[in-house]
C-alpha cells in the first residue's frame, strides 16, 4: 500500500505568518503534488515536482512556494499567509505520468486556518 504522510494535520496561523506544510512519501515515486481543496472548487493543483530539486507550477500557484529536497520529501511554503489561503491541503504522489503510473496516492490532508 502506497504511503503518503502529511504534517501537521492541523495548523492555525495569523495573517502575514510563515507556514511550512510537510509531505513524505515512501512509495519510491518520482512525482509529488500539492493540492488545495475548497468547497465549490474541488481540488486545485498548486505545485508539483518530477524529482528532487525539480519544481513545476500548477494552476493556482500565487502566494505559494514549494521545494522538493529529496525523492521522499516535498514542502509547501506560505511566506506571508493570507485568509484566502485558509483551506484543506493535500499532498499526493504518483509513479509516473502515463498509463498505470498516473494513479495518485493522497495523504490525509492538512487543515490550515489563517486568522
Amino acid at each position: 500500500e502506497a504511503a503518503v504522510t502529511q504534517s501537521p494535520r492541523n495548523k492555525v496561523t495569523v495573517t502575514g505568518g510563515n507556514v511550512t506544510l510537510s509531505c513524505r512519501q515512501t512509495n519510491s515515486h518520482n512525482y509529488m503534488y500539492w493540492y488545495r481543496q475548497d468547497t465549490g472548487h474541488g481540488l486545485r493543483l498548486i505545485h508539483y515536482s518530477y524529482g528532487a530539486g525539480n519544481l513545476q507550477i500548477g494552476d493556482v500557484p500565487d502566494g505559494y512556494k514549494a521545494t522538493r529536497t529529496t525523492q521522499e520529501d516535498f514542502f509547501l511554503l506560505l511566506e506571508l499567509a493570507s485568509p484566502s489561503q485558509t483551506s484543506l491541503y493535500f499532498c499526493a504522489s504518483s509513479g509516473g505520468t502515463g498509463g498505470p503510473q498516473n494513479t495518485l496516492y493522497f495523504g490525509a490532508g492538512t487543515r490550515l486556518s489563517v486568522l
Binding site: 503518503v4 481540488l43 486545485r44 499526493a92 505520468t97 502515463g98 495518485l104 496516492y105 490532508g109
Partner: protein, 114 residues
Amino acid sequence: TQTVSQSDAHVTVFEGDSVELRCNYSYGGSIYLSWYIQHHGRGLQFLLKYYSGNPVVQGVNGFEAEFSKSDSSFHLRKASVHWSDSAVYFCAVSSTGGADRLTFGKGTQLIIQP
C-alpha cells in the same frame, strides 16, 4: 482545455439501492478518466480509471464506470450500496494521461440512508 462536470452535488439513496453518479467531460482528443473516493476527514483514494478498450471498467468494492464517447460521459455505478459507501466521489480527467494535468470535478456527496 479539458473540463469535467459533476452535475449532482448530493445524491441520497437507501442502503441496498443501486446508484449512479454522473460525470461529463469536454475535450476533443484522447482522454484518461478516473474516479476517486474521499471518506470524511481522509484523503482521496483511487477507485478506477479508463483510457481505452472495454468501455466498462471495474473498480474496487463493486464499483464500475462506463465510458461513452458519444455522451462525453464516465458515470460511476454500484448495484447495491452499503453504508460504508457514504463519501464524496470525484471524477477526474486528463488529456495527456499525466497526473500532472489532472482536472478534478467538484465532487458528489453520496448519502446512504439506513
